[in-house]
């Protein structure tokens, strides 16, 4: 017998790997294990990368290895009684939906794109439109497996190695390679959504509306008309939703539990940046108000409801070749009204178009040490990468800091390191866990270096 062929992984140079926003980032070397046993930390600095839907530099390890999990995408077991799915970290939410919606199960929490991996969802502790009711992603993870720097795989859960579990939830990949995630799915009667759109006239009304505890509608989010100024500042369409019951859906055969997705429409070219000026966005927003708002209550498929942007392939191209940044912050209840007003005013003043402006209420903070969601209101804005963006971004962060809020790390690519401890008060606790499991700093990303997350 011959010795086994060598298992050392082929490398691929990636001189300009970027996050989803497309702003240029550092050179890195990609590895792509196809077998679970090859998904092991090495000596060089490294970070895991799921589907690269993080906007900034969280899933890039410059001058090191960026390890792709896309081939580690096997579902391993499913318990019909409890709804717990155990799967490898590279399994995408899209694949889970395709497989389980037809059987009457749905994701307990989902971000606004289905093209992300289980590992990425746990590492960023993502939230969905139901955060105020159901909490963040980690709240539905019954256990996971991780390989920290010492190379020994561990089971982590709220009960077992709980310090490592809560450092991993929201820990941006710095605690090790997440190999498996066990996620508790939730039962649905149909794959359809009953949705209610309500236009509001200003920011106060929007916030009041989002604050109503509407037990019937676990999903709620507001799209803000970013160009409304003065008295109309913050006017929105508040979108409430819930999974529709059988009696409510359009009667066609076999569509009760339909796991299929809408066809993607391509955004075939980069729009030249001058096209995306205020006027385009103005037109878009008023169209949006008209089209969606006037429909009031309606029933729709889950795919366009949860993942409207997935319907447009390469929608980021809308912002032109230089890419865009997303700024998402959360402001605590006490300061949210004034803080949000200040941010929206700054955006209008600056004339910077934000195609996307989403506001949502968060429920109480979870237990993840670096998890983003905390009680209050979260606002997500997109900006094209144009001159002066850095200063503008600093001013936004200034408002967030003053309001006692924080910025979402998986969307960030420009924040300053000084801000981090103020935004994430449990940072020291997180660093303590890192010192225990990765004393020599084998895991690192452009994000962790930029913000000095691991500490000195």
């Amino acid at each position: 017998m011959h010795p086994e062929p060598s298992r050392s992984l082929p490398e691929k140079a990636a001189p300009s790997l970027t996050g989803w926003g497309g702003s240029p980032a550092g050179p890195t070397t990609l590895l792509r294990p196809e077998k679970m046993r090859d998904f092991k930390p090495g000596e060089s600095p490294q970070i895991a990368r799921g589907m690269g839907r993080g906007y900034g530099d969280a899933a890039i390890c410059g001058e090191g290895h960026t390890v792709l999990t896309e081939r580690l995408d096997r579902m391993l077991s499913f318990d019909d009684e409890t709804g717990v799915l155990r799967a490898e970290a590279g399994v995408s939410l899209a694949d889970i939906l395709t497989t389980f919606v037809p059987r009457g199960w749905f994701l307990p929490v989902t971000p606004g794109t289905k093209f992300c991996s289980l590992g990425g969802c746990l590492a960023a502790d993502v939230h969905g439109k139901n955060h105020h009711v159901d909490g963040a992603f980690s709240q539905h993870v019954t256990s996971a497996r991780i390989i920290p720097a010492d190379g020994a795989e561990r089971i982590i859960s709220p009960d077992k190695n709980s310090d490592l579990f809560w450092a991993t939830a929201g820990g941006m990949g710095l605690t090790g390679f997440i190999t498996e995630v066990s996620l508790k799915l939730k039962k649905i009667e149909t794959s359809w959504m009953a949705v209610k759109h309500t236009p509001t006239k200003d920011l106060d009304q929007t916030l009041d509306f989002l604050a109503i505890d509407d037990a019937e509608n676990p999903y709620s989010v507001a799209w803000i008309d970013c160009l409304a100024t003065g008295e109309k500042l913050g006017r929105s369409v508040v979108m409430n939703g819930r999974h529709a019951a059988i009696g409510e859906i359009p009667l066609r055969e076999n569509n009760k539990l339909d796991g299929s997705f809408s066809k993607q429409k391509p955004m075939p070219f980069y729009l030249p940046s001058f096209v995306l000026n205020k006027f385009t966005v103005k037109a878009f927003n008023s169209l949006f108000n008209l089209r969606q708002g006037s429909r009031g209550e309606f029933v729709t498929k889950f795919d366009p409801y949860f993942y409207p942007l997935d319907g447009i392939k390469n929608w980021g191209r809308m912002y032109g070749k230089k890419g865009f940044v997303q700024h998402q912050c959360v402001l605590p209840h006490e300061s949210a009204r004034d803080g949000l007003r200040a941010i929206l005013e700054l955006v209008t003043e600056s004339g910077r178009a934000s195609f996307l402006a989403v506001l949502k209420k968060f429920g109480p903070e979870g237990r993840g040490m670096l998890s983003f969601p905390t009680g209050g209101y979260t606002l997500a804005l997109d900006f094209a990468n144009k001159p002066g963006l850095d200063e503008f971004h600093d001013r936004l962060d200034g408002i967030v800091l003053n309001a006692g809020g924080r910025v979402y790390l998986v969307k960030d690519s420009r924040m300053k390191a000084d801000s981090l401890p103020y935004m994430y008060p449990r940072l020291d606790e997180f660093r303590k866990v890192l010192r225990q499991y990765d004393p020599s700093g084998k895991f690192a990303s452009d994000l962790s270096r930029r913000l000095n997350i691991a500490g000195d």
């Binding site: 011959h2 691929k12 990609l30 792509r32 077998k35 081939r71 096997r74």
Partner: protein
Amino acid sequence: MPGIEGTALVLGATSPMARWTAYALARQGWDISLAGRDVQELRRIAADLILRTGATVSVREFQAEDLESHEGFWEDCVDQMEDLRCVVCAFGFMGSQDAQNEAPALAQQVMTINYTAAGTILMHAAKHFEEQKTGWIVGISSVAGERGRASNYVYGSAKAGFTQLLSGLRARLSKSGVSVLTVKPGFVDTAMTFGKDGVFLVADPKDVGGQIVEAMTKRKDVVYIPGFWRLIMFIIRSVPEKVFKKMKF
């Protein structure tokens, strides 16, 4: 494929191309048996196949390089799978041509896996299917088998032999109702091509799996995947040797 479902045995099932071929077969109603060296990994793939498709899936160890074991392995397969109707031979090993040039003994492993092992196991399958008067043999060969290139000629020569074996099996078995499909993938996005220079238009193994099963359904004899490789290989085969030997690729 009405009337011909049964169990499909996939040899070398941990490769991404094999995994997605098994997936496409399972979606068509086949039961699947996954065979390979790495049983732990096979179990993961089996679990996934079952969850995604609801098919009946089993796992068995197969050491392609251990030629002595083939006969016993095949007998076990026949004993344990009454409705064995299809064999997909998907294992292969390229290795590094530079390393083989330096240490010629290394070439033997590449020749053994890609030609001798693939050939002998399919000889067993051929005999069985011939007696059953039905069955499918799918051999995953390579466009590398169409012309010897400096960069991978040992692998290529073994695949060339394998391609000819499949062609002969097809001629022998066609009157027994057994279909033999030769698959010639171009560049597929796997560890073999990942990060390699000169690799272009790589195909997603998921798509390749689907196309293999589609070619089976259409009872094709030979299929290039993606299809444009038929043209590329036609051109490459037409270059005179005088010129070819000076080309760098």
